[in-house]
């Protein structure tokens, strides 16, 4: 095992900015690299609370008279609910209320915009409490409120449910087979007309002439890949405290990636106006996309309404795994062709993703990312969103892209090998850059794909020699769109010249630090003089989810604008005091200066106490629907050692390069890159949803849902590449997601070099890899015998 102490870090900066950024003072600063705060590594403002146990996560809230709720869940994968009898449970001392779907209003069967995604309120409601039918093991049926969580649990045992068990449909193959049992009676798709189906949507992307493309290819690789359903694995289970008041107003305290989404979705499920619900963001213990929808939140309000008391619900780990939103397992058939000189000329791809119980897998994103890093002249990509008797999937870090890249980046490795070209050079040769068309058509703006590949190529890791038996090195790339959407920010200047910056983006990985840094940079004051606040839904303008790598980009843009608004007011205020025109005053390094001679400069600290007598408080504001999203690319290099007798893989070394655009707080950017890489490694090697023949999830705990421990991972070197995003005043791209995409393919490619085996299935767990190794050996032996 390599004994290096820590990841080495390198920041590559490409300083030139495009013309679109001209006219922005800060952008000029960005180009010159003369930031005072941005790019430094200060301690996060919420840090002390988090290392002393003071930070309040959702489950840490309690209120006088609070009751505890628990949810009864289906023990069957697919069944009709004939009868629910609650009288025995209600009779248990301490039980205060029980709710079922009969307590929820009928929700409309339509598609509605909710944050990032389209949501069907009927499906959402039925996922929260099953209506007549259960569609997966763990599907919620009823919820109990009692004086203690133990009593609530015992009450669940006393609820009687009669089921009519139906055959489970667990895979896309089973769901798409003719005559397959139908999960949702009224589900239809365009192509099958009025025929009941399990295929919710068919996506297709087409460019050029794929047949002609293959004719021009010298090498063609065709393979089928299968990836297992996996979970985000956040350490904090879902939670919610609901308080319903007699006046019809409700408050929800919960750990969520999107308070405004919780408000909207809860209002849809409960049939209550949005304005009657306030959502207070607790600290959130990880989400990775899995906390962008609701499960317990509406139930907490419903039970509170029924009992008149605050009600807290928390999930057990088994509930988290059985009944929240993992990401899709998938089947991908892929055929790609290249010319002898290493030019990709054609790709034909068929991909089907498990949506879970209700439509909405990320297969569309998978289809749009699968060849996104490459200019391929001809392709035909078909994607199918398929319902199966598994939990409804939710977003998971670059949703859909990791499955897709596992397939395409493995095949590209194989093509590079056939062409006799280094796999990184092959990627550089075919890689997209500014002006290359995206899969969906429009050209890329400024992107840093090639720079990430070059960064790996020039890394100490790739340049080092890997020696030793059963060892191999693999590389792979990844693409993710990143997201814009709506954000709001307020910057208050306090009487002592310090500031607070208020946003609606729950801080899941240190975003308070970057928000404070951006405001400090604009105002020219120390970061420690800016206190960041994550406010509730009544205290800040609408802000979409902390997801899609959007917070530093979009909320950061709002903070930047709000701070500039405050700065403009400071200038006006000083000008007024000095009887100058505003354009004669400027704010520089926290000091207000007059242009030319005259008045000595005044600091914000000196000016602020005089606000009451010069026109009142100064509040900078911004709200926006962010444009200028800059996509992200990553490239990873992984060394493995395989035990050929047991199939166990050890990760020896890992390096990831990623284009951040501009790293506001480099430590937290590296943290995102390292964390995404770790999740990708877990996905690659051992994580999977393991269902039995009846569709019951067998691995419902963290003993058998095997996420990497710190003994399973090496130091992870993070190379931040900075190719500024021309669409952001500070050059920021999102950094939260793309690093999860390359590892599974990089590991498969490394395993190939260590063993000669091409893995086409995740997880590449010891039993699966050993089987492949033994098969490979016996076929090699047969070939030798025959030869």
């Amino acid at each position: 095992m390599r004994r290096r102490q820590s990841g080495d870090t390198l920041v590559l900066i490409e300083a030139q900015l495009t013309a679109s950024q001209r006219g922005l003072t800060m952008a000029e600063t960005a180009a010159s690299g003369n930031f005072k705060v941005i790019g430094t590594r200060p301690v996060r403002p919420d840090g002390v609370d988090k290392v002393t146990g003071r930070a309040k996560f959702g489950a840490d809230y309690s209120f006088p008279g609070m009751l505890h709720g628990k949810v009864l869940r289906s023990p069957h994968a697919h069944a009709l609910i004939k009868l629910i009898k609650i009288d025995k449970a209600l009779a248990l001392p301490g039980v205060k209320a029980i709710v079922t779907s009969a307590d929820l209003p009928e929700a409309e069967n339509k598609s509605e915009q909710a944050g990032e995604m389209a949501v069907n309120p009927r499906h959402l409601s039925a996922n929260i409490l099953a209506r007549g039918k259960v569609l997966y093991d763990g599907h919620a049926i009823a919820a109990v409120a009692a004086t203690s969580p133990h009593i609530a649990e015992e009450a669940l045992r006393l609820i009687e449910v009669d089921y009519e068990i139906l055959p489970p449909v667990m895979t896309v193959d089973a769901a798409m087979a003719p005559g397959a049992p139908i999960l949702i009676a009224d589900l239809r798709n365009k192509e099958e007309g009025d025929k009941p189906t399990n295929v919710a949507t068919h996506y297709q992307f087409k460019r050029g002439d794929v047949e002609a493309g293959f004719k021009s290819a010298d090498f063609i690789v065709e393979r089928e890949f299968n990836t297992a359903m996996v979970h985000q694995g956040y350490i904090e289970p879902h939670n919610a405290v609901g308080i319903y008041n007699a006046d019809g107003n409700a408050t929800i305290y919960c750990s969520t990636q999107g308070i405004f989404d919780v408000r909207l979705l809860s209002s849809q499920v409960l049939g209550v106006e949005v304005g009657k619900i306030r959502v207070v963001p607790a600290e959130i213990g990880g989400g990775f996309g899995g906390k962008t929808t609701v499960y317990l939140e509406p139930l907490s309000v419903l039970l509170s309404k029924k009992t008149g008391a605050p009600v807290k619900l928390t999930m057990s780990r088994a509930e988290v795994l059985r009944a929240t939103g993992p990401t899709s397992g998938s089947k991908i058939k892929i055929k790609m062709g290249a010319t002898r000189d290493g030019r990709l000329v054609a790709a034909q791809i068929w991909m089907a993703y498990e949506a879970g119980a209700y439509p909405g897998s990320p297969v569309g994103a998978g289809a749009m990312t699968i060849v996104a890093p490459y200019t391929v002249e001809n392709f035909l990509i078909d994607g199918y969103d398929v319902v199966v008797n598994r939990p409804k999937t939710a977003a998971y870090r670059a949703p859909g892209a990791t499955n897709a890249a596992f397939a395409s980046e493995t095949v590209i490795d194989e093509l590079a090998e056939k062409c006799g070209i280094d796999p990184l050079d092959f990627r550089i040769k075919n890689g997209v850059q500014e002006g290359s068309p995206q899969v969906v058509g429009p050209p890329y703006k400024r992107i840093g794909y090639l720079q990430t590949v070059e960064a790996i190529k020039n890394s100490p890791h790739y340049k080092s020699k890997l020696t030793g038996a059963n060892r191999g090195r693999g590389v792979a790339s990844g693409f993710w769109f990143n997201a814009g959407m709506q954000s709001s920010a307020i910057v208050n200047i306090h009487p002592d010249g310090t500031a607070s910056v208020v946003t609606g983006s729950p801080d899941i990985g240190g975003s308070r630090a970057s928000m404070a840094m951006i405001a400090a940079e604009v105002l020219g004051i120390p970061m420690t003089d800016v206190r960041p606040v994550v406010a509730d839904t009544d205290s800040i303008g609408h802000t979409d989810v902390t997801a899609g790598s959007r917070v530093t980009f979009a909320t950061g843009m709002a903070v930047y604008e709000a701070a500039r608004d405050a700065a403009r007011q400071l200038v006006e205020r000083a000008a007024k005091a000095w009887e100058k025109k505003p354009e004669e005053v400027e704010l520089r390094d926290g000091m207000l200066h007059t242009k030319g001679n005259g008045v000595p400069p005044v600091s914000i600290k000196q000016l602020a106490p005089r606000f009451p007598r010069t026109g009142g408080p100064i509040v900078g504001r911004a709200s926006l629907n962010a444009r200028g999203v800059g996509p992200a690319f990553a490239c990873a290099c992984v060394d493995v050692e395989v035990d050929p007798e047991t199939g166990k893989v050890q990760i020896l070394r890992a390096t990831v390069a990623q284009d951040a655009g501009k790293a506001i707080h480099p430590s937290y950017v590296e943290g995102q890159m390292q964390g995404g890489t770790a999740q990708g490694i877990g996905w690659a090697l051992n994580e999977e949803y393991f269902y039995d023949a009846k569709g019951i999830l067998r691995n419902t705990g963290l003993l058998d849902y095997r996420m990497p421990t710190c003994l399973d991972l090496p130091a992870i070197d993070a190379i931040i590449v900075e190719v500024p995003n021309p669409g952001h005043p500070l050059g920021v791209r999102g950094v939260g997601e793309v690093s999860i995409v390359p590892p599974p393919a990089a590991i498969a490619n490394a395993i190939y070099r260590a063993t000669g085996v091409r893995m086409t299935e995740t997880p590449m767990s010891p039993p699966k890899l050993l089987k492949a190794i033994l098969r490979h050996r016996s076929s090699a032996a047969n070939a030798k015998a025959a030869g």
Binding site: H150, G647, K648, L702, P766, P767
Partner: protein, 289 residues
């Protein structure tokens, strides 16, 4: 969790009396690292928990060159790992104890609890089987001893009758030129349950094997003594042929199932691989003793 009653007797007599009184409703509580999870999930319902950690006899490790080891049933894995005599005389059992769970778990879990839990995948059981350990059980009807390989009778079930308590594990002193080893396969490097475990104890006579015992875990409903594989080593020279033959027989002794942790085919294969590796480590250690 359902309601429970908790008692913490300080003598063996008290413990046995309570266990007798409560019958099947009672269960001894040692580290609780399996039991509390099972009570919480509803896999077991025992309203009476008898905390045995305050009974001195159950918390003691004693080694005597003539009589061997007496390992109290509630001695924690951490205490075993911290005991130099354990490392010197029973390195295989000690490494098995050290493999159970995290540091947090090792500070609570006991070898006795590991055995009483009756899991076929318990790490210390194949190591105990290899060492020929006997379980001393005290109950209303007096005392009895049961060999480690006979202790579990089915997954989660043991020979213990209502009212009976496992007091300690008895292991003979290691003969000259002997040692033991334990290996397991887990998909991760920590915090996992054995997909296969193999414990081996060997005694050498020059470059030949004088005695051998191979215990296998997670390859059947209970951990087993792979007798044929063990016997195949006896009288053999320490060479590849002998090791390979024993590995083959160890694979054949396995009767595993397919589950989320591994396929039957995989477990059978790995049983041989690990047995062979553990034989070779035990032989290497024995040579130095």
């Amino acid at each position: 969790m359902h309601e429970i009653h908790y008692e913490a007797p300080t003598t063996l007599e008290q413990a046995v009396a309570i266990l007798k009184q409560r019958g099947e409703q009672a269960r001894p509580l040692s580290g609780g690292t399996d039991l509390i999870i099972q009570l919480r999930s509803g896999a077991r319902r025992n309203p009476y928990l008898i905390d045995i950690k305050y009974i001195k006899e159950l918390r003691t490790i004693s080694f005597d060159p003539k009589d061997g080891l007496r390992l109290g049933a509630a001695v924690t894995c951490a205490e075993i790992d911290e005991n130099p005599l354990m490392h010197r005389h029973y390195p295989g059992l000690t490494e098995a104890a050290r493999l159970i769970g995290s540091v947090q778990i090792q500070n609570r879990a006991s070898v006795g609890g590991n055995l009483c839990n009756g899991s076929p995948a318990a790490d210390t059981t194949p190591a105990l089987i290899a060492l020929g350990a006997r379980a001393r059980i005290v109950g209303p009807g007096g005392e009895r001893e049961v060999p480690a390989e006979k202790f579990a009778i089915a997954p989660g079930r043991t020979v213990l009758q209502p009212g009976e308590l496992l007091v300690e594990l008895l292991i003979a002193p290691p003969p000259p030129h002997s040692s033991d080893a334990y290996l397991r396969l887990i998909p991760r490097n920590e915090m996992d349950i054995a997909v296969v475990g193999a414990g081996v104890a060997l005694t050498l006579d020059g470059d030949r094997i004088k005695a051998a015992r191979i215990g296998l875990g997670a390859v059947g409903p209970t951990a087993i003594l792979a007798e044929t594989a063990s016997q195949a080593l006896v009288g053999k020279k320490l060479d590849d042929a002998a090791f390979d033959a024993a590995a083959r027989l160890a694979s054949e002794a396995a009767s595993p199932i397919d589950d989320m942790r591994g396929t039957a085919e995989y477990r059978r294969h790995v049983a041989g691989v690990l047995a062979r590796r553990a034989i070779s480590i035990a032989a290497e250690r024995a040579r130095k003793n």
